[in-house]
């Protein structure tokens, strides 16, 4: 029987942060995730590394935590962060009094907010609306959620921490009011087994209520859905915020060649990741205040995630509920060594993990101090390795691959190309992903679908949204020696249908043209969904 000290349930930012923290303190820990890492909320957000500016007026404590963690993550998660800085802009409809209070609050929280002339702002961001009135520079940044999660797990791995994806918890076992283990189901094989442990931490975000129910406990999470729009342009080079009390659709975050606009806030079920056209249009109309030509930009896709807002008061709603996080020790509910962690922000994931692990370690009698702020998640590539990479990767792919893969995996991918030069072929031209990288990631035991490869490599996240790389990636993995890739039609549909989900609410202009091409290839030419009746 599998045994560990702590089982962490949930492979979002909070869960992987806890796994890494415990592992670095020498506590034996195993993380189980029902889907893929970062499948839910931890990737379904703007990808904003907060400066704290957004919270400075309303919640100084949160703002201070943000700026501290922002500084730490830029250092330890260098490969995941694009240090763009952010610009806060005030529109004519935003209050001047708020601006004054905001400037004062940023100062109190230790967040730099450097005023600039609008001329200077327009020079930095030429697409900004000329109606805007004032602008400040702050230390916000863009962060890649998928990458941060995988690299956090890679760091935990070095200390013995393990993560199992597609492993669903179906029961929490207690003996005499104390946790004894969890029962899980492998979602690919259907196999059910027990993992014995001394402690269970549920870091399941919007699903915390569902998981607590397995132990007969109520946890009052109110999931609130936010929709995000990804544009196929780098509209801005900085994160751009509206300078007003936090509201819908007031943040633009540039990521590589795209920009994400978010978000909305609607009470929802924990697994509701659908978006309606009306939500998109509402957000576009607000976003247009910041970038007046917003409707001229091509949308790539829309997506949605649910914020796990925790409230002790069951009647609290939406954005006004507390953003802070809570660690609920269920000893108060009659079960010892079971904790639910709810709420929180991606930016402060490391700090939340530290606080949770302080409590857990104390209960387990472990005295080691937290070191997660001191050590980098993954080692950056050495100059030697980068030179080797540049010799084999096409165009500027070496830098991109290095930041995606980190030192060790980069070396393995380079070796693949060195021994089989044909594997330098680009499978995904939009994101510069080579066949060698696809083969390397596909061979990892955590890969089960082409979408898994997408989350680790950015395959299919660019302009064509899978139209061309679907054939290439399925072709690359659809081999007899790849245990998970047996059914060609399933592989295609799984990948293309998830891409389609994000395009469906915005099916106009070039988005519809792209889908027409996708169908012409996969349905008309390759007959993906038709019946074979060969005579």
């Amino acid at each position: 029987m599998l045994k560990t000290t702590v089982v962490v349930i949930g492979g979002g930012a909070t869960g992987v942060g806890i796994l890494r923290d415990l592992s670095m303190r020498g506590v034996d820990a195993l993380l189980v995730e029902r889907d893929d890492l970062g499948y839910w909320t931890s990737s379904r957000f703007h990808g904003l590394l907060h400066s704290g500016g957004r919270y400075a007026v309303k919640d100084k404590e949160a703002a201070k935590e943000c700026i501290e963690e922002n500084t730490i993550l830029r250092k330890i998660g260098k490969q995941c962060v694009e240090a763009t800085e952010s610009i806060f802009v005030r529109a004519p409809e935003d209050s001047e009094e708020f601006e004054a209070e905001w400037v004062k609050s940023c100062k109190e929280c230790g967040i730099y907010a450097v005023p600039m002339s609008m001329d200077e702002a327009f020079k930095l961001e030429p697409n900004l609306s000329r109606k805007l009135l004032s602008a400040y520079r702050c230390p916000g940044a863009a962060v890649d959620g998928f990458r941060l999660l995988w690299q956090t797990v890679a760091s935990a791995n070095k200390y013995g921490g393990k993560a199992k994806t597609y492993t669903e918890v179906i029961g929490i076992e207690t003996v005499n009011g104390e946790v004894a283990g969890v029962h899980v189901r492998d979602r690919w094989t259907g196999e059910e087994y027990k993992i014995a442990c001394d402690y269970v931490i549920s870091a399941t975000g919007s699903f915390a209520g569902n998981v607590a129910h397995l132990a007969g406990i109520d946890v009052n999470v109110k999931p609130s859905k936010g929709t995000l729009i990804a544009f196929n342009h780098r509209i801005c080079n900085h994160v751009v915020h509206r300078l007003h009390p936090s509201s819908d659709a007031d943040i633009f975050v540039p990521h590589g060649s795209i920009t994400i606009l978010g978000t909305s806030s609607i009470d929802s079920a924990p697994d509701d990741t659908s978006s309606e056209t009306s939500e998109v249009l509402d957000m576009m109309n607000i976003g247009k205040v910041t970038f007046e030509n917003l409707y001229d930009y091509r949308i790539l896709r829309v997506f949605a995630g649910t914020r796990p807002l925790y409230s002790a008061d069951p009647n609290a709603k939406g954005r006004s509920a507390s953003r802070g996080f809570v660690a609920l020790d269920h000893a108060h509910d009659g079960i010892k060594h079971f904790m639910s962690v709810c709420g929180g922000k991606f930016t402060t994931y490391r700090l939340m993990a530290e606080k949770v692990c302080d409590i857990v370690c104390e209960q387990l009698g472990v005295n080691t101090a937290c070191r997660t702020a001191e050590e980098n998640l993954v080692d950056g590539p050495s100059d030697d390795l980068m030179n080797r990479a540049k010799a084999v990767f096409p165009s500027y792919g070496a830098e991109l691959a290095a930041s995606r893969l980190g030192n060790e995996k980069l070396e393995r991918v380079i070796k693949r190309i060195e021994s089989r030069p044909e594997t330098k072929e680009l499978v995904c031209e939009c994101e510069n992903v080579t066949l060698a990288e696809i083969e390397e990631i596909a061979s990892e035991p955590s890969s089960h679908t082409v979408s898994d490869l997408r989350r680790r490599t950015r395959l299919g996240m660019g302009t064509c949204q899978g139209t061309f790389c679907a054939y290439r990636s399925v072709g690359a993995v659809d081999k007899d020696d790849m245990p998970w890739a047996k059914d060609t039609v399933f592989l295609f549909k799984e990948f293309l249908e998830t891409r389609w989900k994000g395009i469906r609410p915005v099916l106009w202009g070039n988005m519809l043209r792209d889908i027409e091409l996708t169908r012409a290839i996969y349905d008309a030419a390759l007959n993906l969904s038709g019946v074979d009746e060969i005579k």
Partner: protein, 420 residues
């Protein structure tokens, strides 16, 4: 001011075919063309009707067309005219020395680049799927550095679908002299290579010993860049087996051959093709179209004709423009009837046996293919709409793309030439 009898807007397969048909009947025909069009990236095969509305394979396309729902373009044309259209196309292919095989009354199952099969109707002899079904052994050939064909995947799936065959694969080495870092190698490059003496010899030398008696070879579309069977014929003779190209993704060598053939035929018949002519509007007086207006980098120009055929394609080709809650046909400024809310344009799944809602959006026409405005009135009595701009069909689920194009184009051209 030059005036033509028939002015065709668009030089995809429907525009070119309409031009060929009308020119054959003695009309002075001009085509206005803009951009490369979608024909060259298409598959070069004539799907007529592969599946019924219920998703079952169609045995006899003409029989199925006769029983078509009234909204479908085929219902406006009828099976008799459809058959004439396809026979006319076959005649053109023969005259051009690139005869297609198949008949209007049956479908042929073609292997695809995935290794499954799709039904089509008229296909070039390089894609004779029947040869595959007839053979005992199947040899799937890939090329070592060519992009976008995975012999592994095709072999595995063909073996699954044809369990009584002996299916093997062979990877042919290209050994291109130039440094392949410069760019990817596509089917086009391999086709070009096979047209060289050295490439041809290298291919034969590498393949010959692997061909057992009673074998059919499956390979990506590489058997020649031009519309003829020179390479196919010599290879079939030298290797003593059939060769079958798969239905594949762009860039499409097969689509290029079809484009070249149709263009050559049209030009021989005196059709004038005017390039870089972006049509932005039309002039309609008393219910008749007088001219269409093109816009270049410096000026607008009018092209006059007695009769007009709109063959500008669908959303992908630019013949229809999709907006938020709306769709328009920009040349005659026709509003297409679509739901206001975008999520009502589609089914939840992209792929399925149900026709997609958005795929069926297009210009409504009467039984003469004359476009109708939202109020049901004729937009202009001397205009006919053909091909992908038409409402009422889903070429992907039905497998009917080039069939609808040819059959409606024939009907429009013939009607303008005084045939019922």
């Amino acid at each position: 001011m030059k005036k033509s009898d028939i002015l065709i807007i668009g030089n995809g397969i429907s525009g070119l075919f309409a031009a060929c048909v009308a020119a054959d009947k003695g009309k002075k025909v001009q085509i206005l063309s803009y951009g490369a069009g979608t024909l060259t990236i298409g598959g070069g095969i004539i799907d007529v009707l592969g599946y019924t509305d219920e998703g079952t394979p169609v045995a006899d396309p003409m029989q199925a067309i006769a029983a078509m729902d009234a909204k479908h373009p085929y219902a406006k044309v009828g099976a008799d005219t459809a058959k004439k259209a396809l026979d006319t196309f076959l005649k053109i292919t023969e005259e051009e020395g690139f005869p297609y095989i198949g008949s209007a009354n049956e479908n042929i199952w073609l292997p695809t680049a995935i290794g499954n099969f799709k039904p089509s109707c008229l296909v070039p002899r390089t894609m004779n799927g029947k040869a595959l079904i007839a053979a005992k052994n199947i040899l799937v050939i890939g090329f070592d550095t060519m992009k976008d064909f995975y012999a592994d995947m095709a072999t595995k799936n063909i073996a699954k679908r044809l369990p009584d065959k002996n299916v093997e694969q062979l990877i042919v080495e290209l050994k291109f002299e130039y440094e392949r870092d410069l760019r990817d190698i596509s089917a086009m490059d391999v086709a070009r290579w096979l047209e060289t003496e050295a490439g041809y010899r290298s291919f034969v030398d590498q393949v010959k010993s692997h061909v057992k008696p009673d074998t059919a070879i499956v390979l990506p579309p590489v058997l020649g860049l031009d519309p003829n069977y020179k390479i196919l014929d010599t290879l079939e003779k030298e290797l003593d087996c059939a060769l079958v190209e798969v239905s594949s993704l762009p860039p499409a060598v097969t689509g290029t051959r079809l484009t070249k053939m149709m263009t050559a035929y049209a030009k021989k018949r005196g059709v004038q093709i005017i390039e870089k002519a972006r049509v932005v509007g039309s002039e309609i007086i008393d219910g008749k179209c007088q001219a269409v207006i093109t816009e270049g980098f410096d000026r607008q120009r009018k092209f006059y004709a007695d009769q007009f055929i709109l063959a500008t394609g669908g959303v992908y080709g630019g013949g229809l423009v999709a907006k938020i809650g709306a769709m328009t046909e920009p040349v005659f400024n026709i509003d297409i009837d679509v739901p206001k809310v975008q999520t009502e344009w589609s089914h939840k799944d992209l792929f399925g046996d149900k026709k997609q809602i958005f795929a069926q959006f297009g210009v409504n026409v009467n039984s003469e293919l004359t476009p109708l405005a939202a109020d049901g009135k004729e937009v202009a009595s001397n205009v006919k709409v053909v091909g992908r701009s038409l409402a009422g069909y889903d070429f992907c689920v039905e497998k009917s793309g080039n069939g609808v194009a040819l059959i409606t184009a024939y009907k429009a051209a013939a009607a303008f030439c005084g045939e019922a």
